[in-house]
Amino acid sequence: MAFEKDLNLDATELRLGLPGSSDESAKNQTPATLRSNNKRALPEESMSSNATASKNCDQETAPLPKAQVVGWPPIRSYRKNNLQPKKSEGEISGIYVKVSMDGAPYLRKIDLKVFKGYPELLKALEEMFKFKAGEYSEREGYNGSEFVPTYEDKDGDWMLVGDVPWEMFTNSCKKLRIMKGSEARGLGCV
């Protein structure tokens, strides 16, 4: 029930009984209702900012999230702001690192902040460069593939992706390199 801003009072039937009057039949007819704004937005209406974010992300296959009603769900703003620091910080300052793959003609760049952990990162890399990384284990690294994801850390050393906690990784990763073939074997992989 959306109400136009300029109300056409002539078209409506005005029952101007006093508020609280016992004339129930008058109340049962829809009185001329005037709203100063259209705040009662139903979920199907307005678009949400989350919708645009998910549109831009290539990998997003989920349908558009439902539009947001003001003040719903009833979660304190403090909690809302603190639950997803990764998402909001990513909009302002992501952690962009170059990604190279041996044999590929040019590099790509990705924002590490949009991923929650290694599985998501690996999946994104696999899709970006069209390869499969193999099974990761702490002892043996990546098994079953000639492609191995590695990264250069703050100290300039080349490390295997996945060995350290995710937060530590995002804080120390300077660039990513997907090694291929014989070079990869040097890191102790099959």
Partner: protein
């Protein structure tokens, strides 16, 4: 024998044993003599609505006041339904108290606007000031916090919970003088900025009485380890950043020192966390009674489940919904002492990935016989599940259910959830607080009016069909104190049926309902003991709208009314109309 034959001091001594606000209020109403004795001996006062009384009258009545609790904005302000400058300013209170001879020692504020000036004035006006607790407040920066640290020589408690604080990265923590050794409780988890870690270590080292310490996210794991070395007597710990390499030396030291911290009963935080480090925490879990992981999005469902399995003595659990229904099943089979459960959504706007459903709640209700307080955000709920929960649990004091889709029906039967909630109120006779959601008709309100006889606070959204719904509640719930309604088809007839009812309540909030300006004016005119406020936030007040805004037929967007002893407040902004 009539107590009035006893000298005043004896009566006063008897009153010393009467500590609850309700009881002391009752005592003061018995007779003039008791009123007088009670008011001179009263030290703790709770004011649920800061606009119901003035600071001057408070000071006049209770000259012995030591501890004051004040609440400001209406509850729905938490969800952005109230503009920031609506009101709830603490400054006039502090100014008045400072001018008086009141020896204030404790100030607890909720949903109030607190300026740096207020904090500074507070810190300089009361030499015995001991305890400051700010919950969901705003308007101050770390400069204000620094003033408290610097000037309150006997400070025992500085507890900042979920406040929006502008962080100036000043060295507020370093403002605690070396002579300050009295700290019992320090909670700065809501501050976002850097602090001087060395100062923190020194502060903890010179605070032998420190029992509660909640850190913010910039405090790293190696500092945590050093702090625990200094304060193994902690009872309540909030961890900031918990990220390290499990094979590091620092981590081994942490594991060792945690073994010594066998007084910890309450654990929270993990604002940044590496799941692989959680195993170090397991030794503390055995004795935990309160675990709050609701700000730890870095922990996945499995991590949560593994942790919870160690927490056999848990009484209160706050957790994110990524624990899943299965995880809640683990909680149900492990935490037999559980009284309070809060499950928050990890992604409030993601309707697709159902994290917890009615299944998790049913498992909890079956496994935790002592459950009395629930806050549950979920994607769906069924009548059958609620009826089962009502059979299993009859001790609920607080029952708040939030289905993320506001008008969702029972997905199995497509029926409204009237019967489910009806069952809850019927079997939980001690219910004091209830929040409803999902598809609901007037019928649920009929049940609430009939059965929820002890209900004090009710929150309703997108529910009901007609005025009857609201009337069932107003007529039936004799103990109702706070009623907050949004987006329901309740209008003037319901509002004006029993105007005297609102004098028995603290407040009523109605937004996006069908109440007209005329009805509000009528109410305000007939009930001088109520303040009726209309919040009109139209950003663009075009001239036609201005004309309309004085039309009594206008549907009011937000109305907030509350009983008061002191008439209209003088600090309302332009867009708040006091009728």
């Amino acid at each position: 024998m009539n107590m009035n034959y006893f000298p005043d001091e004896v009566v006063e001594h008897v009153f010393d044993f009467i500590t609850s606000h309700k009881d002391r209020n009752s005592v003061s109403l018995v007779c003039k003599s008791w009123y007088k004795i009670e008011r001179y001996s009263r030290q703790r006062v709770f004011i649920g609505n800061c606009y119901s009384i003035t600071p001057q009258r408070l000071i006049a009545r209770f000259p012995g006041l030591k501890s004051l609790t004040l609440k400001g904005k209406p509850h729905f302000a938490d969800f952005n339904l109230v503009p920031h400058d609506w009101g709830g300013f603490v400054y006039p209170w502090i100014k008045a108290l400072a001018k008086s001879r009141i020896g204030l020692e404790e100030l607890r504020l909720k949903r109030m606007v607190v300026s740096d000036d207020s904090l500074e004035l507070l810190s300089k006006s009361f030499p015995n000031f001991k305890s400051l607790v700010l919950v969901s407040c705003e308007g101050f920066t770390t400069d204000g916090v620094a003033a408290i640290a610097a000037n309150c020589r006997f400070l025992r408690e500085l507890d900042l919970q979920e406040n929006e604080v502008e962080d100036h990265r000043g060295h507020w923590l370093s403002c605690f003088p070396e002579s300050c050794t009295s700290l019992v409780s320090l909670n700065f988890a809501c501050l976002k900025g850097e602090i001087n870690l060395a100062s923190l270590e020194r502060l903890v080292a010179r605070s032998p009485n420190l029992k509660s310490l909640r850190l913010n996210r910039v405090v790293p794991l190696d500092t945590l380890q050093k702090l625990l070395m200094r304060a193994p007597q902690l009872v309540d710990l909030g961890i900031g950043s918990y990220v390290d390499d499990p094979s590091s030396e620092v981590f081994s030291k942490l594991k060792a020192v945690i073994q010594l911290c066998n007084s910890i009963r309450s654990l929270s935080g993990f604002l940044e966390v590496a799941p692989c480090c959680m195993s170090a925490i397991y030794p503390i879990c055995e004795n935990l009674t309160f675990l709050n992981l609701s700000y730890a999005p870095g922990l996945q469902g499995n991590d949560l489940t593994k942790l919870v399995q160690h927490c056999r003595k848990l009484q209160r659990l706050w957790i994110l919904d990524c624990i899943g229904d299965k995880g809640l099943g683990v909680v149900a089979s492990t935490c037999k002492e559980l009284q309070e459960l809060r499950v928050f959504p990890s992604d409030p706007f993601d309707a697709e990935n159902a994290a917890v459903t009615e299944e998790g709640l049913v498992l909890i209700s079956a496994g935790c016989p002592k459950l009395n307080s629930l806050l549950y955000f979920c994607h769906q709920m069924t009548n059958a599940a609620l009826i089962t929960v009502a059979k299993n649990c009859t001790n609920f004091i607080r029952f708040r259910l939030c289905i993320l889709d506001p008008v969702k029906a029972d997905p199995v039967t497509n029926q409204p959830l009237d019967e489910g909630f009806g069952a809850i109120v019927r079997s939980n006779k001690s219910l004091k607080r209830l929040s409803l959601s999902g598809l609901l008709t007037d019928q649920v309100f009929l049940y609430i009016g009939m059965y929820a006889k002890k209900l004090e606070m009710l929150s309703i959204a997108f529910a009901g069909d007609s005025n009857k719904g609201m009337l069932y509640v107003l007529n039936g719930c004799k103990k109702l104190r706070k009623l907050e309604i949004r987006d329901c088809p309740f209008g003037d007839v319901a509002l004006l049926q029993d105007m005297g009812k609102y004098e028995t309540m603290r407040s009523l909030w109605m937004s996006s309902c069908e109440v007209t300006l005329g009805a509000c004016k009528t109410l305000a005119k007939k009930m001088p003991s109520l303040n009726v406020e209309i919040i009109n936030e139209s950003e663009k007040l075009e001239s036609e709208q201005l004309e309309l805004s004085f039309d009594d037929r206008l549907l009011v967007d937000k109305m907030y009314l509350y009983r008061t002893l002191v008439g209209d407040r003088k600090d309302a902004p332009e867009y708040v109309w006091l009728l």
